[in-house]
């Protein structure tokens, strides 16, 4: 059961990485980051079956940080949209020389 859970977790993480690398919509990028965090949480829970409930505590911490990250990140997206009128990451090239 643990082996299958770990494989599912690896596949979900890689799907998130593919999303981050191939998309340009900032909101989709944030959602892919959430998917990666979820994959890591699945690893924590599966490992908690071997090593005791500390993994569950870690998952709760990760969820809290994910909520904070989503709130601040989406506020930045709103701010960027006000400034540039788009959330396309390749359009934000002010800092590129």
């Amino acid at each position: 059961m643990i082996a299958e859970a770990l494989i599912v977790s690896a596949i979900l993480f890689v799907i998130g990485v593919v999303g981050v690398l191939t998309r340009r919509n900032a909101i989709i990028l944030f959602m892919c980051a959430e998917l990666m965090l979820n994959a890591v949480n699945l690893t924590f829970v599966a490992m908690a079956k071997m090593h005791g409930v500390t993994g569950h505590v870690f998952v709760i911490m990760v969820m809290t940080i994910a909520a904070a990250e989503a709130a601040v990140g989406l506020a930045i997206v709103i701010s960027v949209f006000r400034q540039f009128g788009t959330v396309d990451m390749s359009a934000l090239r002010t800092l590129r020389g």
Partner: protein
């Protein structure tokens, strides 16, 4: 592990992976968000089957109920729901992403294979929630209290960043 349990486990795994693939291939953010909610629900089922019922409930409440609502709210606020133009990067970036992801997947699978238990597992503890609470409020009390500070900072930061500026 009886047959029915195994069937349920594979079913939830399959739903999670299929929903994640559908999520990452949608063009518009709203269907993507809804498929991601589906992933969260399937993962919650997996958590319950892995003897983590509390984490499963929190997954539904916090991820599906709160975080994804914020995403959908921002999509609505910025009126991005109807973007049908593809936001895919160019061919070179996609090929690079494919190579990187294949290497990463192989790497993760090899690393995880070494972490698997050699012997059989101990039976599940009787009361996982009690153990989680005891661990959270004794060993990790400082981290737990610091989390509240992180949330406070995040609230203030989000309000400051998203506020309409009167003067720049």
């Amino acid at each position: 592990m009886n047959r029915f349990y195994e069937f349920q486990f594979y079913l939830f795994s399959l739903i999670a992976i299929a929903s994640a693939l559908l999520f990452v291939t949608r063009k518009s953010p709203v269907p993507a968000a809804l498929w991601l909610v589906n992933v969260m629900f399937a993962l919650s089922g997996l958590y319950v089957m892995l003897d983590a019922p509390f984490v499963g409930v929190i997954q539904v409440l916090v991820y599906a109920g709160a975080i994804m609502v914020v995403f959908v709210f921002v999509v609505m606020l910025l009126n991005l729901g109807r973007s049908e133009i593809s936001d895919l990067r160019g061919l070179g970036a996609r090929l690079g992403a494919g190579l990187v992801s294949l290497a990463l997947l192989a790497n993760l699978l090899v690393v995880q294979r070494d972490r698997l238990p050699r012997a059989g597992l101990a039976p599940a503890a009787e009361n996982v929630v009690t153990q989680v609470a005891a661990s959270l409020f004794t060993d990790y009390l400082v981290a737990f209290e610091l989390t509240s500070l992180v949330l406070l900072v995040a609230i203030v930061g989000a309000v400051l960043l998203a506020r309409k500026r009167v003067t720049v």
